[in-house]
Amino acid sequence: MEITTSQYKRCDLIKITGRIDSSTAPQLAQKFNAINEEGRFKFVCDMSEVEYISSSGLWVLINAQKTSKRYNRGEVVLACVPTKIKSALDLAGFVPFFKFFDDIVSAVGNF
């Protein structure tokens, strides 16, 4: 898995490439935490290059959403989510907890 981040005026873009599994999910959690520690809680996750997500990856997204939404200080939104990844979110019952966008510009524009 590779993670690249871009800081925008109103949010941070996190692009994730590859597999989010028990091996790599902790790296993603660390990335969210590092940005949170700088006081930023608004995220767009570019999921277009995510090949696989396990339950451990889904928990990272849910925990990031919980942290972001606490005190209404932010939100995690998901962009360009492949069908397979959306189906995993759906199976977990997590779809209602995220906004989904078909492109990055619209997702960034949400903030």
Partner: protein, 137 residues
């Protein structure tokens, strides 16, 4: 029968997943079917490492895949701690984000994505998980 044996370390999940993808593709499953089998096996292996071995281990996970006319049969063996599958609660689908409690999704995914899931725990021999996915049509 196709077999792969790896130490119970998270870094080996990708190798297992590629192996399962190849076997599932050869067995004739479509993209979503392959992804379902990959997910079930990945969750099962993660649970073996996390719970049976209590963390990453040099103890092995043995994965056997048997392609039959109507189904793909996956057999996973480990030598870790047994558990009582019925004791794992089915995750509740909450409507409020703050009510969600972490845990239990892996086993739930395995049951949802595969047609048959059986556990056997034999003292001195080890734990065996058998998962079967029927072929479409």
């Amino acid at each position: 029968m196709d077999t792969v044996i790896v130490p119970g370390r998270f870094e080996n999940l990708e190798k297992i997943s590629k192996f399962v993808k190849d076997v599932s593709w050869s067995a004739g499953f479509d993209e979503m079917g392959i992804y379902a089998i990959q997910t079930a096996v990945d969750e099962a292996c993660s649970n073996i490492i996390d719970h049976a071995y209590g963390g990453e281990s040099s103890e092995v996970i043995e994965l056997n895949c048997i392609n039959t006319k109507n189904a793909l049969k996956i057999i996973l063996r480990d030598h870790g701690k047994p558990f009582i599958p019925e004791s794992i609660p089915i995750p509740v689908k909450h409507t409020r984000l703050k009510d969600i409690k972490e845990g239990g999704l892996g086993l739930y995914f395995m049951h949802q994505l595969m047609d048959e899931v059986y556990f056997e725990f034999s003292p001195g021999i080890g734990n065996t998980l058998t998962m079967i996915k029927h072929k479409p049509g």
